[in-house]
Amino acid sequence: MTKMRVMSRSRPEDKYLLVTGLMNMNQVVAVTGDGTNDAPALSKADVGFGMAITGTDVCKMAADIIIMDDSFTSVVKACKWGRNIYDNIKRFLQFQLTVNVNALIFTVIGAVLLKESPLQAIQLLWVNMIMDSLASLALATE
């Protein structure tokens, strides 16, 4: 099954079989479909793409994502957007966690050693509220 690229004359049941087999091999599976009989495969797969124009209502209900223009290039576009958003969330998390971990360690150890915090509350307020939120905004638009 790993060497298979194209399968002709396949029935909707074969689709379902393929999805089940691939998912048993721990693969991430996306399925496109338009007919009512595609619904089992669509709901079984990790991501189901339903066709908006030619697709039936059952297929649209079973799908996770509905392709509005019925074009397969839109699937690639959806993948790109998904990865972009996932990367942006990771960027955001990395920045925020680093800033806050640093501020925390620095103020705690500094206060323990010096009897006073090396960074004042008003300074930390500026760092946390203005800088962090703006920078996160910037990273989210990458």
């Binding site: 990367d87 990771k90 960027r91 955001f92 998390l93 990395q94 920045f95 966690l97 680093t98 800033v99 971990v101 640093n102 501020a103 360690i105 620095f106 150890i109 500094g110 050693l113 010096l114 009897k115 006073e116 090396p118 960074l119 300074q123 500026w126 760092v127 203005i130 800088m131 703006l134 920078a135 905004l137 910037a138 990273l139 638009t141 990458e142």
Partner: protein
């Protein structure tokens, strides 16, 4: 991601603590008045050196670092620029961190595509500008 956070934090902590405890040996103080604060150091801090006098108030054992001497020309006692430097350094570390956070897949060149995102650029300039204003014109 955890690796990046860990190493970035480690790096920032080392830099910040070096300047927090070694500032009076490294940070230059061009203003001559500020090298002779109203109160003299009780400990053997280099009062007449070319560097800032420490902005810390206590020694590591909890003794006060300074004895207040009234007089001279009205410079406030806590006019050391040491802590301003620390704050500025902290902000700049976060700005660099912000630029580094754009690359999360272990890319080598951090600056690649820096100018490709106008929103990022505007916010970067804004943060640097406001940081400049805070450091230069506020207390």
């Amino acid at each position: 991601m955890a690796k990046h956070i860990l190493y970035m934090s480690l790096f920032q902590m080392i830099v910040l603590f070096i300047f927090l405890f070694g500032g009076e040996y490294m940070i230059p103080e061009p203003d001559e008045r500020l090298r002779y604060p109203q109160y003299r150091a009780l400990v053997d801090s280099p009062v007449d050196s070319k560097f800032v006098f420490p902005g810390r108030s206590f020694t590591l054992t909890g003794e006060p670092l300074y004895k207040k001497v009234i007089g001279l020309d009205g410079i406030d006692g806590d006019a050391s620029r040491h802590m301003t430097f620390i704050f500025n350094l902290f902000i700049w570390l976060q700005i660099v961190n912000m630029m580094a956070s754009r690359k999360i897949h272990d890319e080598k060149n951090l600056c690649d595509g820096f100018f490709s995102n106008p929103a990022f650029l505007v916010i970067w300039v804004l943060i640097v500008g406001v940081n400049f204003l805070i450091i230069q014109f506020t207390g």
